[in-house]
Amino acid sequence: MAAIEASKSSTPLLKDELDIVIPTIRNLDFLEMWRPFFQPYHLIIVQDGDPSRTIKVPEGFDYELYNRNDINKILGPKASCISFKDSACRCFGYMVSKKKYIFTIDDDCFVAKDPSGKEINALEQHIKNLLSPSTPFFFNTLYDPYRDGADFVRGYPFSLREGVPTAVSHGLWLNIPDYDAPTQLVKPRERNTRYVDAVMTIPKGTLFPMCGMNLGFNRELIGPAMYFGLMGDGQPIGRYDDMWAGWCTKVICDHLGLGIKTGLPYIWHSKASNPFVNLKKEYKGIYWQEELIPFFQSATLSKECTTVQKCYLELAKQVKAKLGKVDDYFNKLADAMVTWIEAWDELNPSGASTELANGSTK
């Protein structure tokens, strides 16, 4: 027991190395519940919607806030790549951050409790996930082998036990599950009550639906890949921002030999969005993803793509070449992907992203 307590308190705070990015259009009341866990950290608030509205930030938090006017001012014409009237605008926060790690959370996500009734410090778990290696090349049946109380199972080769650096930590949600609109319509009352006490690496070569509600990542390792696309106002699609970022990120992580974990921590998702509104936003995506998935599953990047930016620009070319014919939207998106990288490099000059040879560990 004592050993467990000691190891918990030994998770570094990383308070000067991590920014919390929160997109919001309403208010930040939810921060009160998170105060014990979030207060040591710097917040980057990305205010979506009407910039003339004042978003009140609870007392005692250290933050910077950007509304649409700020985004336009900072990026100039390149601001076109940042979505408006959609939480996808959060990726602007990733771009302006100067920290090594990002944690992003939605403003309708609260502190969850584990089965023993204890409040979950989601940020601490994300940090644990990001600071320990991933194991994408061979599946460990006891899940994350670096967790307390776990290890590699019999048959797991020793040469693969060092793992690779973890680029992304994907957390989950109790209460309102992250379902698409059709599923929400069919199962309006379903709540996720199952606490699955596991973290695991998503294997290399496997895609997954990345949800941006409760997400941590190493900005230095993968930041430029975390573009949340063109969504919301003036766009034919919504609620695919995090999906898009997740597919691009996974392809790039697989190429560069980085890992993505999913599982703990849980947050409590309180607000069920309107399924009819969601259906309007998503419906093109539901058709398009049938083309997108094979595209990403078969996407390969050349050996010359040794940085995240190079990988991303290569992907953008492929998006234009192969998905442009699905819909003109993808031509615009491919252009926006390029704009994003240009903007990223402008705001983050000289090697914010580390060059990694294919498959090498850092």
Partner: protein, 348 residues
Amino acid sequence: MSQISINHDEVDIVIGALQLDLKSFMEEWRPVFSLFHLIIVKDPDLKGELEIPAGFNFDLYTKSDIDGVVGSSSNAISFSGYSCRYFGYLMSRKKYIISIDDDCIPARDSAGNFVDAVSQHITNLSTPATPFFFNTLYDPFCKGADFVRGYPFSLRSGVDCGLSCGLWLNLADLDAPTQALKPELRNTRYVDAVLTVPARTMMPVSGINISFNRELVGPALLPAFRLAKEGNLRWETVEDIWTGMCVKVVCDQLRLGVKSGLPYVWRKERGDAIESLKKEWEGVKLMEDVVPFFQSLRLSTSAATAEDCLSEIAAVVKEQLAPANPVFARAAETMVEWVKLWKRVQTQ
């Protein structure tokens, strides 16, 4: 619990008996095992009479049965030790087979409820698997869960499940070096999930708590990979790891799924990791070659049955791995003999 109605006539529970006294093992499992037909196979090297309590519906196979059926292939295929259960698979005519080591008893979940491992295995095998895209809420067919936003609709019907790999509380299936290094480490974490291991992702399949669809993948559960100093503790064998990778390759080829997670069994203390480690850890070393081999293995498009797949795998093993170590040469030979034996026995 599962809402699948189980047809008990479709299930065989195969137990490899590596110890004579099966009384406490069977008593612990009685609430579950008494409902099904059992196949008990006695390790041919074990001397003496098995002690099996009354009230079970079972067929017992011993060395003489094995010799009788296997006949002239017996010099290629060894059914000693943990491999005795494969004879049970050969003899079964059922759709689903569940196999649990004889040093495991039922576990309790986090709420203290008795875990019916058999029922969970059957649920896993009879609900679809989803190997082509990862669902972050794990098994979407489980009550209270579903596919998440972003999961392509065309992939939501899933595919048949060929193999279900369960887990272990208390003594986890760690290798000898790991357990020797952490002698106090016990698995106390009950992870309430079943998930499909994605296509083309390899994994170490433990034979301790396993089930499969015999009609779909039966021949792929084979005894082939025998270490020079193979013993009667899991620490002294990796035969199930080899077999598991063959099954995974077969499932990937035939577009079937492999699930991992629930059910848990409670694995009792047995043996001494340090003693096992002192003997030999050939298995641990061999994994360095075995894993990359299976990861890069690609079968021809014409391999459309489990038997075809196994024949191809055996040929590649013979060509690529056998030159390095006689263990691999023997494995390839045994695989070929097994496929012949399987075909012969199935048509009888």
